[in-house]
Amino acid sequence: DTAVSQTPKYLVTQMGNDKSIKCEQNLGHDTMYWYKQDSKKFLKIMFSYNNKELIINETVPNRFSPKSPDKAHLNLHINSLELGDSAVYFCASSDDGRVGWRGRKIPQETQYFGPGTRLLVL
């Protein structure tokens, strides 16, 4: 009954290969995210999907392509892997927000993170 799950947990591969990381959430959330955590533990958002629609696309090489087949899944495909892609990739999900004061919707709900995928490119 894991809330946000990622596969694989570890991924070791050669430079130039293409690989995919999968993420699934069973929380019924509308929005999903991909973050990259570098060797200095700095976390930076890469992409976000809301109801299968791309809403955040930060400055990320186009070798990275997210795909959301449905609301509960957000996969990350990486082409032509480079040494600098070595990092921990975290998937997260959040609800579409609750209605706050005066009926204002608050979209920035709590984000729930997966356990991470540790990618090592050799």
């Binding site: 995210y33 533990k41 709590t110």
Partner: protein, 112 residues
């Protein structure tokens, strides 16, 4: 653009002592503030969050944080640290655009 600064890269504290982790944010509107904890080799777990209302928020594991708008701060505190609190702590700020910006993190070491 929103940003978060965690001034302390590494803090060492004795078990049973109090802990305070600093967080300063920059955001143009009312911020949504979070503290997450990451244990070695693990994902991020939410400790607490501030959206509105009472500026002193209680979280899990005995943590609390205080939002001070005048100082643009959201410092995390725990009165008595346990060895299991050794971890990486991240402060984050978000708004209405779904983006969550994290600080660089503070590593907490607990000595016996």
């Amino acid at each position: 653009a929103q940003s978060v600064t965690q001034p302390d890269i590494h803090i060492t504290v004795s078990e049973g002592a109090s802990l305070e982790l600093r967080c300063n944010y920059s955001y143009g509107a009312t911020p949504y503030l979070f503290w997450y904890v990451q244990s070695p080799g693990q994902g991020l777990q939410l400790l607490l969050k501030y959206f509105s209302g009472d500026t002193l928020v209680q979280g899990i594991k005995g943590f609390e944080a205080e939002f001070k708008r005048s100082q643009s701060s959201f410092n995390l505190r725990k009165p008595s640290v346990h060895w299991s609190d050794a971890a990486e702590y991240f402060c984050a700020v978000g708004g209405i655009d779904y983006k969550l910006s994290f600080g660089a993190g503070t590593t907490v070491t607990v000595r016996a």
